[in-house]
């Protein structure tokens, strides 16, 4: 099974000590093999080196 997700990438603006705001752009549908996973952390190939991030209030919503 493949799900088609209508991907619309965000354009981010950073604001220190506050909120980062993203605005939407027109996107392109992409196909995923189902089911899906949500992942936070270090991904990709080796070569990222040392990294350290803290995540909170992770959200995923669909419509």
């Amino acid at each position: 099974m493949v799900s088609t997700v209508n991907l619309v990438t965000g354009k981010a603006k950073l604001k220190v000590d506050g909120v980062l705001v993203a605005t939407t752009n027109a996107g392109t549908p992409r196909s995923y093999g189902a089911p899906q996973n949500l992942f936070v952390g270090q991904g990709g190939f080796v070569g990222d080196g040392t990294n350290d991030f803290v995540f909170d209030q992770v959200a995923l919503s669909s419509r």
Binding site: M1, V2, S3, T4, V5, N6, L7, V8, T9, G10, K11, A12, K13, L14, K15, V16, D17, G18, V19, L20, V21, A22, T23, T24, G27, P29, R30, S31, Y32, G33, A34, P35, Q36, N37, L38, F39, V40, G41, Q42, G43, G44, F45, V46, G47, D48, G49, T50, N51, D52, F53, V54, F55, D56, Q57, V58, A59, L60, S61, S62, R63
Partner: protein
């Protein structure tokens, strides 16, 4: 002074942050345990993960992700993914993952998270497939321009510069340009 940054990005036509549509409908967060307040699953290697909660995942030899009590944005806990390659950890994928329901065709997805960048590059990803190690994904990648924790808080000069310019805040944000399989192990 600590720097708190809320990172939010959109995959989909939804509104960021408030997660409220223009029509008034409220988007429901499908991420379980979004603030890491509940105990998470034991660490696993490559393969599948369960739905309903985070599982600590590690492709092998990386520093184990942990739940921490500081820094946090809301609540009492947050998830920290730290891979100390400079001190012997394997440079492989690690983090937290959870399975999601399959989305319907043409679903529009919104992803967001608060992040506290300390070093390196990390991501939030929506993945396809059953193996978190080998999955097509769309990743929101965040890069910290400071190589080490110590240097991030070493001088007031850096803090003042960040306040003047968002682009100097220590994070480079990038959205995906392609969807391609990623093999992590």
């Amino acid at each position: 002074m600590r720097r708190w940054v809320l990172i939010a990005a959109v995959l989909g036509a939804g509104m960021v942050g408030a997660a409220t549509l223009a029509s008034g409908a409220v988007l429901v967060n499908q991420a379980a345990n979004p603030s890491f307040e509940k105990p998470i699953g034991d660490m696993v290697g490559c393969g599948g993960v369960s739905a309903g909660n985070w599982t600590s995942v590690n492709a092998g030899g990386a520093t184990q992700p942990v739940v921490v009590t500081s820094p946090v944005h809301r609540g009492r806990k947050a998830g920290q993914v730290r891979n100390d390659v400079e001190h012997g950890a394997a440079d492989v994928a690690n983090g937290f993952a959870q399975a999601l329901p399959s989305f319907g065709a043409s679903s529009q997805i919104s992803l967001s998270s608060w992040v506290y960048p300390i070093a390196g590059i990390e991501e939030i990803e929506l993945e396809g497939g059953t193996n978190w190690c080998i999955a097509e994904n769309v990743a929101l990648s965040f890069e910290c321009d400071r190589p080490r924790r110590e240097s991030s808080r070493s001088t007031g000069r850096r803090r003042r510069r960040r306040r003047r310019s968002p682009t100097a805040s220590g994070i480079t944000w990038s959205a995906p340009s392609t969807l391609s399989p990623v093999r992590r192990s």
